[in-house]
């Protein structure tokens, strides 16, 4: 299990900033246009994931063999990584909505 956590971190590390950037843009879009654009924002976030796979396939495909030799499938590595990233995104959005609600109340 600790190996899986380590491998997920190694896998997530090079794509972390790219995906966090997409998350920040998504939160900013909701801050500007409101929750009514959440459908578009969700689509935009999915585009971030698709672009990550595309970029990784071109720039770091050789590295996939490291994870396979550790006994893990690449589909599973992406699934774990994106679940964690999406949880981070939901936390950022919740934090923003909570803060903006508190400010509005004040």
């Amino acid at each position: 299990m600790s190996n899986t956590r380590t491998l997920i971190w190694y896998f997530y590390k090079p794509i972390f900033l790219w995906n966090i950037a997409f998350s920040i843009i998504c939160v900013v879009l909701i801050a500007i246009y409101g929750i009514k654009v959440n459908g578009f924002v969700f689509f935009f976030k999915l585009m971030g994931y698709a672009s990550t796979i595309f970029l990784q396939s071109y720039t770091a495909k050789n590295v996939y063999m490291f994870y396979r030799n550790a006994g893990r499938s690449i589909v599973r590595m992406y699934t774990y990584t994106y679940l964690i990233d999406f949880a981070i995104y939901v936390s950022m959005l919740s934090l923003y909505l909570f803060i903006s609600h508190e400010l509005f109340k004040g």
Partner: protein, 218 residues
């Protein structure tokens, strides 16, 4: 004792048949040398066994149990021709997730590891990196090891250092190895298989390599 069996692999690219009548088996404790000309399908066969290349048909089994994807659950490890270690992470940390804890002391005793364990791949020369990558695969948790051109990009003295390590590893694992430096393969292998015209030929003596046109003389 574990044994890997590969049978009836059929692979074609754009209508061109690459592999059509392939049979090989590898027992734990055995090194199988796979020889063949450029483009004959050696690397493709290793990828089919490993599970990263899907052929039209294959039968790969370990102890008669069909294996769809060889690398899952550390059944089979594969040294590709290209570098595979991710950048920005120290060699020691990468080794800890690949190397079998049982072989850890043996692995960390290697001069190439002791010299470079605290470095990232960007700080290593091509030869040093290749040597470390090969050693990590050899000492991995997998029961069967596939080595695709381990003697390429390394110096002759490094190649000579590899051979005893491969032989020692073969006491615990089954190894399938391919390289164009056929004399190194002949040195290290228990049996030789030649891949020609998409078929495997089991070679009993070196003269047969001349008969099949793989080498011109000894």
């Amino acid at each position: 004792m574990n044994y890997l069996k590969v049978d009836s692999v059929q692979l074609e690219f754009s209508g061109r048949k690459i592999l059509q009548s392939v049979y090989l088996n590898c027992m734990q404790g055995e090194v199988v040398g796979l020889l063949g000309r450029n483009g004959c399908g050696k690397s493709s066969l290793l990828k089919v066994i490993f599970g990263t290349l899907t052929p039209n048909y294959k039968y790969v089994s370990i102890n008669d149990q069909f294996i769809h994807t060889g690398y899952l659950n550390n059944r089979i490890a594969y040294l590709p021709q290209h570098n595979y270690l991710p950048g920005g992470i120290k060699i020691e940390k990468l080794a800890r997730v690949i190397v079998d804890p049982v072989s850890w002391n043996e692995f960390t005793g290697l001069p190439s590891y002791q010299k470079n364990y605290n470095k990232t791949i960007d700080e290593l020369s091509g030869g040093e990196l290749r040597q470390l990558e090969t050693m990590m695969i050899i000492h991995s948790k997998a029961d069967f090891i596939l080595l695709d051109e381990p003697f390429t990009h390394i110096s002759p003295i490094q190649a000579d250092e590899f051979k005893p390590v491969i032989r020692a590893c073969a006491k615990r694992k089954g190894i399938i190895i391919t390289d164009h430096q056929y004399y190194n393969i002949l040195d290290v292998s228990d049996k030789i298989i030649l891949l020609t015209d998409g078929c495997t030929k089991h070679i009993n003596n070196v003269e047969e390599l001349i008969t099949y046109g793989y080498i011109s003389g000894i």
